[in-house]
Symmetry: C2
DNA sequence: CTGAAAGCGCTTACAG
DNA sequence: CTGAAAGCGCTTACAG
């Protein structure tokens, strides 16, 4: 039985022009030594008949599929869109497709997902590992995006420095007593951000770290974080280590009648889609996902595509040292000087507009 | 030059056992007529040497890649994680991989993305079309997820009915004057939701529809929506057609000192991750993404995998009639009876806890 | 500059 | 129940 292909193959071009398939291949790939006029004629014919190369055949022949895998700890993570978009972009710019795999937050499924990708013959993969996971040797190039403090990492935002920038921003506004809010104390990323925050706030600042998972272990999921009490006790800023937590803090405070930023400041991390949309808009730290993705893909390609050097040596290892991509402070309305506007000043948050100079780094 | 494969191929199994490659293939695929004992020995040997079939070779031979494409209007869309996760799940349960493609909100890029997927030889694709786009015949099976009122749609949540459910919920609480909030008046999905909302609220309700894009065209991006004025004018509920808009409404109202739900109610759509996390938690409508994904994938597979019937007739068309998947009302703290708690009742929102009976379908 | 030939790893009629 | 053979569409040394 003849397998029906959707389009014509190389042979019809070759036949139509009275040349060999090898020449067509060489002409189309550009690397062959074919006369310019012939290349032109072949190109034209290919375009004319709507030739589309068979990636499957090429893959079988070359051993490379032109597909990269993206494995994520949990697709439901709100940060996922940014990552996926950046990776998809960088990959397709480099001529690669992206196959997604979801770990659903489970370590066993992460391994399974990685295996599925390997069976599908990906040329390499970028993995955002689940907390605490070490990616074993999988026999194909892997780029890990986590945090520079994770061993085996390839590229990541400099979370610690991001925390430090935010800490300095708050310190400069005059905040000395701040509540640091994270969700999980076992997260490297979150710990790095909190470490940076403390450093940026300086030794004279009084910091209290609140892990939501611990509060909820006692109070139940979705319970009050007791932030209003903190505010009344004199804390003037709430620095969350993710926008999600910042949003929770912001709405909890607002609901308790505490005005942001007039009475207390709130900051987040990651600049999720809705961060500029809430009132007051959230001051946050943004990762340069495009750059992170570019570096990850570049690292992968460096080992996938042989350049004449000894690429075998690096197989499975994609970079020896982690690239740290700086984060960018985005100052919006949710931060101001402590008690700047007063509790009753309802309609004049004008003093908190970000100035051009504040949007730095 | 010999192409180095990572693992052993069929021939090494065949050689080790003194049988032919054809028999190995038949044994492993299960469809062949091979003796049970031989099948067992072949299976065992395959496992022993860690045989992994070459999908590229299989694809070349059968003309099917076992990969589906997922094309989205914009990966940055906050709903994307839900969709991607559901599709990835349904697809991998059916033995398919998922290749992602991002349109970045652009019609031209949507076409380009679709073409890239076709070049990669996907067996079919599910597309969430950009507003107003009709997916042309692409020569491969396509399942469209949009809204039942979109021509050519395959499967979708019943957005209109979702709106109606929400409208009835608000009407039952006693709301008669409600502001309907959407972002874009050219969105089929949003218009369906708004239509349902109006129907559910009933003819005696006074509705005012506010399109954010129009307000921003005048006031600038991120400007005030003037919701506090609406509240003071006597509107008691704000029904947004997405959680993102609901969040904007909620925080704008809170910031203006208007208490939710004591003074006004706010509702959203889609049940995004942060919806249960804000204070007060958002009442919203949830789509059954798992079911939508299952139906989309099933429709695709029905035409991809021939079952002996005339499948040619359906090529390119995946379903004749749209499957409507019901939405589910999720009642949380952001809705209550109009002015139930009074403006000054700060710490007793207990009357607004959802009861079991309210969480209906 | 161009072509003939081999082969990537699989599956599928077909013959035995 | 099992095997020999052909072929999916491409690329790559190699020879001319």
């Amino acid at each position: 039985m003849a397998i029906t292909r959707t389009g014509p193959n190389m042979n019809v071009i070759a036949a139509a022009l009275g040349v060999s398939a090898a020449t067509v291949s060489n002409a189309l790939s550009g690397k062959g030594r074919v006369s310019p006029e012939l290349i032109e004629r072949i190109r034209a014919k290919a375009a004319e008949i709507g030739y589309v190369p068979s990636l499957a055949a090429r893959a079988l022949r070359t051993g490379r599929t032109g597909v990269l895998g993206l494995v994520l700890p949990d697709i439901a993570n709100p940060l996922f869109p940014q990552i996926a978009q950046a990776i998809e972009n960088a990959a397709s710019a480099a001529g690669y497709g992206v196959l997604i795999a979801d770990s659903r937050g489970d370590v066993a499924m992460q391994t399974e997902a990685i295996n599925r990708l390997i069976e599908r013959g990906v040329d390499g993969m970028v993995v955002v590992p689940r907390r605490g996971t070490r990616i074993a040797d999988v026999g194909c190039p892997v780029a890990v995006i986590d945090t520079p403090s994770t061993p085996g990492n390839t590229v990541a935002a400099d979370h610690w420095d991001g925390g430090a920038q935010m800490g300095r921003h708050l310190a400069a506004l005059g905040h000395r007593r701040v509540v640091l809010i994270g969700t999980s104390s076992s997260s490297n990323v979150q710990n790095d951000r909190i470490g940076g925050l403390k450093a940026g706030l300086g030794p004279e600042a009084e910091c209290e770290t609140l892990w939501i998972e611990k509060v909820e272990a006692v109070g139940g999921k979705g319970c009050s974080l007791g932030l209003a009490e903190n505010a009344r006790a004199g804390f003037t800023a709430f620095a969350a280590v993710s926008d999600l937590s910042a949003l929770r803090a912001l709405t909890e405070l607002q609901r308790a009648g505490i005005r942001v930023p007039e009475m207390v400041s709130v900051t987040g991390f990651d600049d999720l889609v809705w961060s500029p949309v809430v009132t007051p808009a959230l001051t946050t730290m943004r990762m340069d996902m495009a750059m992170i993705a570019d570096l990850a893909i570049a690292a992968l390609i460096r080992v996938i595509e042989p350049e004449g050097e000894a690429e075998e040596a690096a197989a499975g290892k994609v970079a020896s040292e982690t690239d740290r991509v700086p984060m960018q402070l985005v100052v919006r309305q949710s931060t101001g000087a402590p008690h700047s506007g007063g509790a009753l000043n309802l309609h004049a948050p004008t003093s908190n507009k970000p100035t051009a100079g504040e949007l730095k780094s």
